[in-house]
């Protein structure tokens, strides 16, 4: 079987991947590039644990072939913040206990990072009363926009609080 060469720019660094074309972006990250922060919860786009940013937008890395992302800019949880400098969302998740087992957490934080951008761009959501109005990130808006990230420990209260704080500029 012929392997495919793919160039990925991940967290600001260039990576060359030579892999089976069947390799998903998620498996490439986890098992070829050893960036295991992105998690596999369902492998079918039904949980959000694998959420990463591709060219600034959140996607499910499990439903993406790595070879289709040649040249793309990818941000994973490892690129969102480090131990030395955590992002505001990471700090807020810590402060609000927006996680328990931690397995869905990288996906939640990547998702929230991109979601704040979507809201800033004025994208409406299913629960927005007015499609054309300004976006107010109240608890209900946050919950709807984060519903693609399932948390079985059910840290939803903390997740909504954490994102709400950052949306208001309340944390660091």
């Amino acid at each position: 079987m012929t392997k495919i060469q793919t160039g990925l720019r991940i967290n600001g660094a260039d990576h060359r991947l030579e892999a089976d074309p069947r390799t998903t972006l998620l498996d490439a990250l986890r098992h070829h590039l050893h960036l295991t922060g992105s998690k596999k919860g369902c492998d079918h786009g039904q949980c959000g644990a694998c959420t990463v940013l591709v060219n600034g937008r959140r996607i499910n890395a499990c439903l993406a072939l790595a070879c289709m992302h040649d040249g793309d800019e990818i941000t994973t949880i490892e690129g969102i913040g480090s131990d030395e400098s955590r992002s505001a969302l990471q700090e807020a998740f810590l402060a609000c206990d927006g996680f328990q087992c931690g397995y869905c957490t990288p996906g939640q934080i990547c998702s929230a990072t991109a979601m704040l951008r979507e809201a800033a761009d004025g994208w409406p959501s299913h629960v927005s009363p007015d499609l054309n109005g300004p976006v107010t990130l109240n608890a209900r808006e946050i919950a709807e926009r984060m519903s693609g990230n399932i948390c079985r420990c059910s840290a939803y209260s903390g997740i909504v609080d954490a994102i709400g704080q950052v949306a208001k500029g309340g944390v660091k």
């Binding site: 960036l35 079918h44 955590r86 998740f93 328990q100």
Partner: protein
């Protein structure tokens, strides 16, 4: 050094005399920085990239034997190393605390979807495809997949109890309820799929796995493989949720170990999400008949709780649905009977609060029905029926804040604003109602050990094979040690999840904090005694705070006092207080729901849980545990239903798109309040379990609120919109 305590008597509250003030605080999780940055390493991620990948293959019959497996096509594929069938492979997970191998030999098929082989290849992509190419032939036998028609239904003697004159009490009652409730199979569905990575070093096996109870898991794995437990090390530093489904060793671990040995290379086996639904334990569906008899004032004269649950032939576990019914309410006459249908369905086992989680749905619905029938406030009905002692064995309660939880909760929630007439409150299309339920969950102490080391730099290290499955164990063990040794949280390192450490209790049964926390406490007591000896005083005369020991006016830094690391192991065991006292944590749930009068969709608008669970070690993680339980309750009430195909019993909705666990928008604002409580009979740190308390009764509060909103009583869980539609106004 070693300090051992058997819980034979009431314990004084030593922690209350400590000075550090770290226990009980609302501290962020100590391992949190690793988790929010993606650096906490879970089982499947612990390889170095050299490991081969195994994919389990499922049976496609409900009952029978594997006659043959033709692996030719699979083995012909590039990268495929081996197709493994081995009589040691296990066909279902071990039950919690089993301590021995579960059913072995995967050529025997007990249910559709059980593992029958493992395909091993260089890469995941190769193994996954090859797993679809096995040509498996079966000898098919008749299967039982429907509990209504099962050929074998047992009624074990130990699962029957009759007290007083039950039938007479029912006949003579001023008011009675006799209702049947059903709950479906459910799946724990933790976010991390079950995973194992096996590596052999000579005869020694190291298995990184996603498990809850390592000291048992080691014996289970060793037993399955036929090797000595000393040759097995299991590592589970981070576990992505368990909720019971990772209590026992599973097919992935045994298969990975066998495969790694066979090919002489580490092997990683991770279940697909579909396999998590099919191959890990489910919560049994239940059929429950609840009978209540009361006098005119609502005082219970009789309680009956009968059940039919199911499991595979030969499995000892049966969902103990009456567990809370036994002690929650009074009533002189009592009747219990459990039947167990033997079915060819995925193995039933413990899922978060086995017993209470579904048993209290029925009991607390029945109480609501009785209150309505009597025209009595549901809170008041419960208050009137709190028994002085255990109504069946007369044991006193070790501590019980039920009444306070009920009244405090009613206050905080604004319960007095509830419309007593169902269906009376309407907001546009929405019918709005309030509901409540009691919460109760037995408290258990489990044998546990932990080692605490006081380092020369004045910091401490805690070591035990205890796991943290999201419960907050890393944090609370550090807090207990910090409190006892006078250290700030950051000066205590907690190492968990490795059988190389002393055996803890494992995570399950809500016993982790009380059991391992007590082991840490005991070890620290020993260290305190040793420190006091060095200072030439009694431990009671010594104050430890912020790394400094103070005796009278003399202050000594711990780092100056400890010239060589000091180590102690604490060991706790259950004793007489288990037999003598009825121990349980209690609480009360309140919910407001809105039901759409057009579509029947139910949305929970707010929910409050008030709990009395002994000492709370960390307010933040404890609250999160309760939120989690309450949300499990919302799922059980409204959406969760593991559907078995009516013809072969296979799990039809074996994915997260169709097995509906609550998403963020399903969950409203939640509030949790803890009542101040200590339980001196439970353990020396005076805690009670909370991991399962939050789910116990939670779903019933939601469905009772649906009744209050609509006047419709659905007794068949979950309460999906199709069940409400026929009763809604046109």
């Amino acid at each position: 050094m070693n300090k051992h305590l058997k819980m034979d008597e009431r314990q004084s509250d030593v922690l209350a005399d400590m000075a550090q003030g770290t226990v009980g605080r609302e501290l962020a999780r100590s391992e949190g920085p690793l988790k929010v940055s993606g650096r906490a390493v879970y089982a499947a991620e612990s390889g170095d990239g050299t490991e081969a990948v195994g994919v389990l293959v499922r049976a496609t019959i409900a009952n029978g034997r594997v006659a043959s497996i033709d692996a030719g096509d699979a083995l012909a594929l590039e990268g495929v190393l081996r197709v493994i069938t081995d009589s040691r492979m296990v066909r279902r997970p071990a039950q919690g605390t089993a301590n021995g191998a579960p059913a072995q030999d995967t050529s025997q098929v007990d249910h559709f979807g059980q593992p029958v082989a493992l395909v091993v290849a260089d890469t995941f992509e190769q193994a996954r495809h090859a797993a679809h190419l096995l040509d498996i032939r079966y000898g098919v036998e008749t299967a039982d997949i429907d509990p209504e028609t099962a050929r074998e239904v047992e009624t074990p003697e130990g699962k029957r109890l009759e007290q007083g004159a039950f039938d007479t009490a029912m006949d003579d009652a001023a008011a009675s309820i006799d209702a049947i409730y059903t709950t479906p199979s459910q799946s724990a569905a933790p976010m991390e799929p079950h995973a194992a990575l096996a590596r052999w070093d000579g005869d020694r096996l190291t298995l990184h796995g996603a498990y809850q109870m390592l000291k048992y898991n080691r014996n289970e794995l060793a037993d399955a493989l036929g090797i000595h437990p000393d040759n097995v090390r299991i590592v589970s530093r981070y576990v992505g949720g368990g909720f019971g489904s990772k209590l026992g060793i599973g097919p992935e671990a045994v298969a990975a170990a066998i495969a790694a040995r066979a090919i002489g290379r580490p092997v990683r086996v991770v279940m697909s999400r579909a396999q998590v639904f099919e191959m890990t334990s489910r919560r049994s569906e239940t059929w429950q008949r609840v009978r209540l008899a009361a006098d005119r004032d609502g005082r219970l004269t009789a309680i009956g709780h009968d059940a039919r649950v199911s499991n595979l032939p030969g499995e000892a576990f049966s969902e103990p649905v009456q567990i809370a019914t036994h002690f929650l309410y009074g009533g002189a006459s009592r009747h219990y009977e459990t039947r167990i249908a033997r079915l060819n369905r995925t193995c039933a086992g413990s899922m978060r609060a086995p017993g209470e989680a579904v048993g209290m749905l029925a009991l607390e619905n029945a109480m609501d029905e009785l209150a309505h029938h009597l025209g009595l406030d549901p809170v008041e009905l419960r208050l009137r029926n709190i028994p002085e002692r255990h109504p069946e064995n007369g044991k006193p309660f070790s501590s019980r804040g039920l009444a306070d939880c009920l009244t405090t909760g009613a206050d905080l929630f604004g319960w007095n604003r509830r419309n007593t007439r169902p269906g009376a409150k309407r907001e546009g299309e929405w019918l709005v109602g309030l509901g409540m339920a009691s919460a109760a969950r037995s408290n258990i102490l489990s044998e546990a050990q932990a080692r605490v080391r006081l380092n020369t730099d004045g910091t401490a290290t805690v070591e035990t094979d205890m796991t943290d499955i999201g419960t907050g164990t890393y944090s609370i063990l550090g807090q207990v040690a910090g409190e006892m040794l006078g250290l700030a949280p950051e000066d205590v390192t907690v190492e968990l999840g490795d059988t190389a450490f002393p055996p803890g209790s494992g995570s399950g049964g809500s016993w982790g904090a009380g059991s391992v926390g007590s082991a840490v406490f005991l070890a620290c007591q020993d260290l305190r005694a040793a420190l006091a000896a060095r200072l030439g005083c009694d431990p009671g005369e010594m104050t430890l705070k912020d790394g400094v020991a103070t005796v009278s006016n003399r202050q000594t830094r711990l780092s100056d006092l400890v010239d060589e690391a000091m180590e102690a192991t604490g060991h706790i065991e259950p004793g007489d207080t288990k037999q003598e006292m009825q121990q349980a944590a209690f609480g009360a749930h309140f919910a407001e729901v809105a039901v759409n009068s057009v579509t029947g969709e139910t949305r929970v608008r707010r929910m409050l849980g008030v709990f009395a669970a002994g000492r709370i070690l960390n307010l933040k993680t404890a609250r999160s545990q309760c939120f989690g339980g309450m949300i499990f309750g919302i799922g059980a009430a409204l959406t969760e239903n593991l559907v078995h195909d009516p013809r072969d019993g296979h799990v039809v909705n074996r994915d997260l798109a169709e097995y509906h666990i609550p998403v963020n928008l399903d969950v409203p604002r939640l509030d949790v309040a803890f009542l101040e409580e200590r339980d001196p009979w439970a353990n020396p740190i005076q805690t009670k379990g909370i991991g399962e308390l939050g789910i116990s009764g939670a779903g019933a509060a939601v469905t009772n609120a649906i009744f209050n909103a609509t006047g419709i009583r659905v007794r068949d869980y979950p309460v999906t919109l199709d069940k409400l539609l026929p009763g809604l106004p046109g």
